[in-house]
Every structure is written in structure tokens, then in C-alpha cells.
């Protein structure tokens, strides 16, 4: 089963002919993901790598290839509309890799996505991977291992790091998902934790947070109130000076909210063991399994 993606996923790649889009499409296909179509306006009718039909619009990809999920690799100024287009075409799961979509645009996009009943993951996220089955996004396939741990993270490469630690220790993953670090994201910790709690193939969850906002605190409450599966965590940004941005638009320490110390405390108070170093996640997991 895993969460959100799997064998049932019929993926359309928006921006398939771009530099990143074409590179990662090949990687996804190689991993076994069913990439059923690509979209680049003006390139409709072509075939990508002799295997994937390219359309001018997502709607065509849905009608003609039965796409039900989409991944977006288009430049920031077109990415908001790419999400709207996917939702408008009836795509159920939209994964937006692109970074740098204006916040004001994302607020409107999210409202539309919700009206369409679609699920958005990201933007500015690495996507998700079910080891051995399917990958959507840019997570490096060579570091994952099939198994029963769910991973959810606001970060990109830090997620890879954690996956790498688990895999190196022989601990496999059911699904790893990066939800993105932007202020406005489609799928949050709570959505993922609930999905992992409901997933038969997941035994425990690793949650990777960072400074800024209060999503980790909300997630911690949910873990205490709704989850029976064990959860362990990691928070990045202990050394971040207050008031300075650390790259992610979301990584702002505003007033009394959002410091790493607060988040660590929220995790601990709600039964989430917190690893000091990325490598300590392995021991923390072993302790709860």
C-alpha cells in the first residue's frame, strides 16, 4: 500500500522536455514509475525518449493516457498555473518540485486545489518514493530500501540524509515524503502522519522538522492524540540565529514561535523521541520498534 502513490499511479510529467524534467523522468521510469504522459505546450504529438507521449495540455494527458498523478518541473513563474492546470484536469495527486512560486499566488492556487478535491504535495519539495515500487519527484533512488518505516520531512536533502542513515543501518522505508519548506504547502505533517497511521505497511514514523512556523507543534499534538504507531523526530536549526532567514521562506523565527528548542520540547512532551544528530535517528527508531 504505502501512502499517496503506488502501483496504481499513472504519472504525467509537466515540463517533461526541460533540463530537470527530462533528467528526472528518465530516473523515475528507470525506477519503475508508470510515466504515462508528458506535457509541454507546443510539443504535443512528440514522443519523449520514444516511449512517453507528449501533450500540449494536462487535460489531454488525462483523457488520452488516463493520467491520475502529476509531477511538476516547470520554472517558478509557470509553476503556479501548472498546479491549477493539473487540478483543473482532474488529477488527484499533484507533486510540485519547483521552488520560488510567489506566496500570494500559492494562496490562491491552494484554494483552487482544495475546490477541485486534489492533493498537492509541495511546492519546493523533493516528492515521495515507495522503495522498490514507485518514485515521484527527485528523491535519489539508490539510497532507499524497502521496509516499514514512514518518513516525512519539510526538508529536501536533509530527508535524503535521514533515509541514507536508515538504509545504511538496514532499516527500510514504506514511503518517504518531503512536504516542502514553503509557507504555503499542500500536504502537511498532519496529513502525512494520519496516512501513515492508517497504512498497513508502516510500523513507525520519522518526522523531520526545522525552525519556523508551528507545524511541528501541531504535528506533535496529533501524534499524542491520534497515533498508536511510534514516532521519532529530528529538528534542524538549533544554531540558527533568531530573526534571520535560513533559506526556506518558512524558516523565520517570529516572536516566541518557531525556534528549534520549542519544537524539540513539543516533540518530547508528546512522546516523540528526538535524535540529536541525524545518525541518532537509527538508535531512536530501534528503541521504539
Amino acid at each position: 500500500m504505502a501512502i499517496f502513490i503506488g502501483e496504481q499511479t499513472r504519472l504525467v510529467v509537466q515540463g517533461i522536455t526541460g533540463r530537470d524534467g527530462s533528467f528526472h523522468t528518465r530516473q523515475m521510469i528507470e525506477y519503475g514509475t508508470r510515466v504515462v504522459a508528458g506535457v509541454t505546450p507546443g510539443k504535443g504529438g512528440l514522443t519523449f525518449d520514444g516511449a512517453v507521449p507528449v501533450h500540449n495540455t494536462v487535460a489531454e494527458a488525462v483523457v488520452e493516457q488516463g493520467a491520475n498523478a502529476s509531477v511538476i518541473y516547470v520554472p517558478a513563474r509557470f509553476a503556479g498555473d501548472a498546479i491549477l492546470e493539473a487540478a483543473d484536469a482532474g488529477i488527484e495527486l499533484i507533486v510540485c518540485i519547483t521552488e520560488g512560486i510567489p506566496v500570494a499566488e500559492m494562496m490562491r492556487v491552494m484554494l483552487f486545489v482544495q475546490e477541485c478535491g486534489a492533493r498537492l504535495i509541495g511546492p519546493n519539495c523533493p516528492g515521495l518514493i515507495v522503495p522498490g515500487v514507485c518514485k515521484v519527484g527527485i528523491l535519489p533512488a539508490q539510497i532507499v530500501l524497502p521496509g516499514r518505516i514512514g518518513i516525512v520531512s519539510r526538508s529536501g536533502t536533509l530527508t535524503y540524509e535521514i533515509i541514507f542513515q536508515l538504509t545504511s543501518a538496514g532499516i527500510g522505508q514504506s514511503t518517504s515524503i518531503g512536504i516542502g519548506g514553503d509557507p504555503i504547502i499542500g500536504t502537511d505533517f498532519v496529513d502525512c502522519l494520519r496516512a501513515f497511521e492508517a497504512d498497513d505497511e508502516t510500523d513507525a514514523v520519522v518526522i523531520i522538522g526545522e525552525i519556523g512556523g508551528t507545524d511541528e507543534q501541531t504535528a506533535a499534538s496529533l501524534v499524542k492524540e491520534e497515533m498508536n504507531k511510534p514516532v521519532v523526530g529530528f529538528i534542524a536549526g538549533q544554531t540558527a540565529p533568531p530573526g534571520r532567514r535560513m533559506g526556506h521562506a518558512g524558516a523565520i523565527i517570529s516572536g516566541s514561535e518557531g525556534t528549534a528548542a520549542e519544537k524539540v520540547r513539543a516533540f518530547q512532551e508528546n512522546g516523540i523521541a528526538v535524535a540529536e544528530r541525524p545518525v541518532d535517528i537509527v538508535d531512536a527508531l530501534r528503541a521504539v520498534l
Binding site: R77, A104, T239, R245, G247
Partner: protein, 376 residues
């Protein structure tokens, strides 16, 4: 991006907020002239990207042009939170009957801009939030509909019971929303919004932060960027598409991804070291970025050890390796480099590095520990 008060005032005025006339002065002489033009008492305000200007002595009243010149002279060149004051704003002082706070801020939780108003203005709004939360009134704005007139009216009556004042305040709130939306702001604030004894509502301060991701469609605001207000290294990093923040330590960090960068800094500290910077080369694969990053790090004289921590995803290890080889060829480096490289195209990357005489580790913990050891 932060913009200065005088810039925010211009934007607010163009959206119909009642902003009194003011003049930007670069010298005491200009401030004197402005005060003479306004007549009566004026207020002189330091234009720096820092809160708490008043407490720091960056805001002064002057009752005549001579005094205004002196006040400007005192403020110009002053350092506030590490930033040197290069301009002052001169405005006619306003007689104040009441002071309110009005602001709009992007709220992550509701995923909407939230308008906040309080009749307890003129002081730090976070203090009001902490001590008297019932005096803050909020309205989440649905961006599809914008601030609706009745929302503005409802909030305006939270500030003023007098209909004449409330009507002016409602117009000011509509203008604030229009400015916030039009400028792609993440914060727009007037503190205080005052009423005068004559029954006028005036916005006598202005603050705006602009969403960096929107600057491509806000060329007029991008042009307001005050490069003097940034450290040269941070400016350089921005131009190269890097996120860079200078810190006080000695281990220069170059990482791909903000979360991994922070985790790397945390680990440097865990092993007793001290990070010299936060630096995220971002998600794309451009060797030039690596070159720029290495240049910026090595320009910091405190740096005694350089640590690369690259986990390839959309960033490819071979691109980063090429960047490192190119940059070290160009620069005359005498600081030791520790490289951790894994992920997408790892093999190719390691090969390139080894060909240039570098070692590359694949383990983050070990690499960080070594970089800290090298620095001490």
C-alpha cells in the same frame, strides 16, 4: 525583502492611505530645508532596516529648522543594530489624539493574509499580543475575494466608535490591503495609525516586507533594494542565487538544501566547532554557483576550515565536483577543504574530485567531525 519606511510610505500613499507629506534627507542641510518648508515641529527618523529605532535614538522631534539640522546630524551616521544610518525621513509632526495599530501579515496556519488591528497602537504589537490579547482583532482575508468592504468597516469600528473616524479608518484599511496585495507583500504595517484632535486619521509610520519569490514580477520594488543595507558578501550571494548568512564561527559550510545546511551547522556545533556561515547552494545544478559559494566563504578571514556537505538529488554530484575543481583552480586557497558527497551522480562526482587530488567522504557525521578538527 525589506524596504525602507520612506519607500513603504510612497507605496501606501499610492494606494490611498492617508500618509502625511515627508522628505528624505541625506544631510543635515537637507533636513533643515525640509523642516523650514514644513514649518512648525518636525520628526526626524532614521531609515534603516531595523526595528526599535526610537529606543536606539534614531527618531527625534525638532521644533525649528536649526534643531532639525542638529537632530539629523546626530542621527546620520549613527549605527542601529549594526546598520549605519545614511538617510533620514523628515515629516511634519502630527498632534495625536489616539494611536492604533493596523497590519497585514501572511499567516501560515490559515494559509491567508491576516489583517490585525488594535486600538493599542504606537507600541510593539507583540507586546500587546502577549499582555492584552483581547485588544487585538483579526480578520483572515480570502485572497480570491480580497478584503471585503464590510470586513474593513467591522475592523474600523474596533478602532473608533466615532463614525467619521471609523469611515476614514476603513478606507485606510482598504488601502493597506490594496498595497499589500499590489506589492506582493508578506507584511504591511502602520504603527501607529493616529487620529488627530481635528478628527483626521493619519498613517504616520509605514513598514513593508516583500516576498522575495515575487520580485520577478515587481520590478519597481526590486529597484527599491538598498544594497547598502546588506553585507557585501550577502549581496554577492543573492546575485549568485545562493542563500548566505554570515555568522561568527570558523567552519565555512557549503551545503545543498536549507534543512541539511542547518543540520550541518548544528552538527558542527555538536562536535565543538562553530559555523562561519549558513550557505545553501540551492536545488539546481550549476557549477558556477559552487564557484561563487567558495569565493564568498574564502573571503571571510575567520574561516579556518571549509566543509562541503552535498547530498545529490536535483543537484548532481558531478556538477558540484566540477565547481569545486574549477573554483580551487582559480582561487589561491590556503584553507583546508573537507568534502562530503553522495546521492545523484555520486560516482562521477567522486571521480572528478579524485582526479583533481581531493578526497571525498560519503558520511556526513565523519566529514563534519573532521572539518571541526581541522579548524581547531
Amino acid at each position: 525583502m525589506n524596504i525602507h519606511e520612506y519607500q513603504a510610505r510612497e507605496i501606501f500613499r499610492s494606494h490611498g492611505l492617508p500618509v502625511p507629506d515627508s522628505v528624505l534627507a541625506e544631510s543635515a542641510e537637507q533636513a533643515r530645508e525640509a523642516a523650514a518648508r514644513f514649518g512648525g515641529t518636525v520628526v526626524i527618523k532614521a531609515q534603516v532596516h531595523a526595528g526599535g529605532r526610537g529606543k536606539a535614538g534614531g527618531v527625534k522631534l525638532a521644533s525649528d529648522p536649526a534643531e532639525a539640522g542638529k537632530a539629523a546630524e546626530a542621527i546620520l551616521g549613527m549605527e542601529i543594530k549594526g546598520l549605519v544610518v545614511e538617510n533620514v525621513l523628515v515629516a511634519a509632526a502630527v498632534e495625536i489624539a489616539t494611536e492604533a495599530y493596523v497590519g497585514i501579515v501572511m499567516d501560515r496556519t490559515s494559509q491567508r493574509p491576516v489583517m490585525m488591528v488594535s486600538p493599542e497602537g504606537g507600541v510593539d504589537i507583540e507586546e500587546v499580543a502577549a499582555t492584552k490579547p483581547e485588544a487585538i482583532f483579526k480578520e483572515a482575508i480570502d485572497p480570491r475575494y480580497g478584503l471585503m468592504p464590510h470586513e474593513a468597516t467591522g475592523l474600523a469600528y474596533r478602532l473608533f466608535s466615532d463614525p467619521a473616524l471609523a469611515k476614514q479608518a476603513a478606507r485606510a484599511l482598504a488601502g493597506l490591503w490594496s498595497a499589500y496585495e499590489g506589492a506582493d507583500a508578506t507584511l504591511a504595517e502602520v504603527n501607529p495609525l493616529v487620529s488627530t484632535p481635528e478628527g483626521e486619521v493619519l498613517a504616520i509610520d509605514a513598514k513593508m516586507n516583500i516576498d522575495d519569490s515575487s520580485l520577478f514580477r515587481q520590478p519597481e520594488i526590486e529597484a527599491m533594494r538598498d544594497e547598502g543595507a546588506e553585507a557585501p558578501s550577502e549581496q554577492r550571494a543573492r546575485e549568485a542565487g545562493l542563500s548566505y548568512i554570515k555568522l561568527d564561527g570558523d567552519v565555512g559550510c557549503c551545503v545543498n538544501g536549507a534543512g541539511l545546511a542547518m543540520a550541518t551547522m548544528d552538527l558542527v556545533k555538536y562536535y565543538g566547532g562553530s559555523p562561519a556561515n549558513f550557505l545553501d547552494i540551492g536545488g539546481s545544478s550549476n557549477p558556477e554557483k559552487v564557484v561563487a559559494a567558495l569565493e564568498i566563504i574564502t573571503e571571510d578571514p575567520s574561516v579556518r576550515s571549509i566543509l562541503f556537505n552535498i547530498f545529490g538529488g536535483i543537484t548532481r554530484c558531478d556538477d558540484v565536483a566540477n565547481g569545486i575543481v574549477e573554483a580551487t583552480g582559480r582561487l589561491d586557497l590556503d584553507v583546508p577543504i573537507t568534502i562530503r558527497l553522495t546521492g545523484t551522480n555520486q560516482k562521477e562526482g567522486v571521480k572528478i574530485l579524485e582526479g583533481a587530488g581531493f578526497e571525498a567522504d560519503t558520511d556526513m557525521d565523519r566529514a563534519v567531525r573532521r572539518a571541526v578538527e581541522v579548524a581547531s
